[in-house]
Amino acid sequence: MSISPSIFGIEAPAFEVAGNKILLSHAIVLSERFDDGLIEHESIINGFREWDNIGDHYEIELQIFLYKYADPIEKFVELKSFHRTLVDKFYRRADGQPFRNSDNDFIQFRFDQLVPDVIESNGEYLDVLKLKFISADTLEYSSALKETGS
């Protein structure tokens, strides 16, 4: 049985600002957090439960191997210019779809962290960047499916 590639896409994440898609290639995902907005009410009398879904948030931490870029300074400058701003679209996978809400509107993400760091390799320090993106509004996880939207 062959294994199907991810239905969300297989490329590195990306974000988009004013129509410009910024690829976050040479990246690994350090962590993803699916922040479910479920509120569970449980009766203290009879244990009956009800749930309210107030919407889900999502955040992702990445590490970019800056030294792998042909021009690391240019990439750093590019990313730094968006640091602490709201980006228009965020792609969990560049070949997938950006996150949207239940009304099919694109969700803004805050480019929250940009932390320079190094990794050591054979006595040499190589630049990496740690990035964090946080959704500004609730979203539908499924909207990032490759086949979703247009």
Binding site: I73, F76, Q113, D127
Partner: protein, 389 residues
Amino acid sequence: MSIFGEERKIKFTKNGTTVLVDHCVILRSEPEPKTIMHESIITRHREWIDIYDHWIVECIAYLCKYTDPVSAYENFRQYEGALVDEVYEYADKFPFLDENLQAVRFRLDKIKPVYIETDEYPDELRFTFKSEKTVSLQTLKMPTDIPNLWLWFNDDTLTNPSSNLFQWVDKVSGDIILSGNYGAGSGLTQINGKNVLDVSSSENNENQLNQSFFLPNEMTFIGVVHFNFPDAAAGFICHNWIQQGYPIQAAAHSFAFKQHSYTLSGDDPLYWEGFRHSCANSFSPLYEIGFAGTTEPTGAEVPYIPTFFSLSYNSSLSVVDLKINSNDYSTGDEIPISRQIALILLNYSMKGEIFEFMFYNRKLTTTEINDLKKYYKTKYNITNDIGII
């Protein structure tokens, strides 16, 4: 090789004393942001307020590797609990800077003696530095392989040991000797022993340089970095400027700021006027930087009014173009720099906080220009393009 520096080793300074933390491993060097996130309990919409960004540095020094561990320990210990003036993550480049590019003081919070768990318990020291105030995101190292650049920093020093010698101590380049006669001579003639001017057509005018051109084959000038322009009353002067015959091409400008009383042969003292809005002279919407007397120049003084720099900008004041005017103050014609000189105007902030520009004695390559652009865009958080002519 990191884009921030080559020598990743903690260094700090205190009262002019530099302390290098040798045999050091940096465990942590990262921002400690203070950001408040508000999330609606109804819609879960989020908004953020960024308050400040502290920085923390933790490192270990292998004390056991020092020749004299006891004295090394005692040396470090005297700074424990102290606010040190500068901390470098890359000892060969810049200290941590704030948004105004001033070094941020750090508290050397702890120096903990620890050890490696082996039979002999070799010593280590664990250092923690905490910033006193917000640290800007790390400053990139200067692009390399762009020679003949000097930058003026706020805390560079300029001394005037004799009437014809100025000594500029540059943080990056070290001593730069500016030689010439000031006040009653031909002005700046040499920088580090290199001729900066073609003296062949000396006009021998008091307080003026003799010729207006750089020599393309000489290592000439120079960069200026100056923050917070002094106002006219501050009495700053630029010690070196030229006259130029209009419409001769580019003017040569070199600067050595010093608070100085300067008197022309006439009655008008010349002084650094700094920032001058000159709607009255048809420059609008340009801003000028240059010199002027206390009164509008007239008669014989007109040719000696130095060339003006003119800045044009867009409505947001973020994209700036710079041209050098002719010295014909009355017409304000502008002529671009030529003569194999690349000039980069890096940024101008309406707040008057940052103004920086440089001269090179040659035309920079596209790669060099792009590298400098990237460097300064990062340094100053400039999102727009940087004007270059």
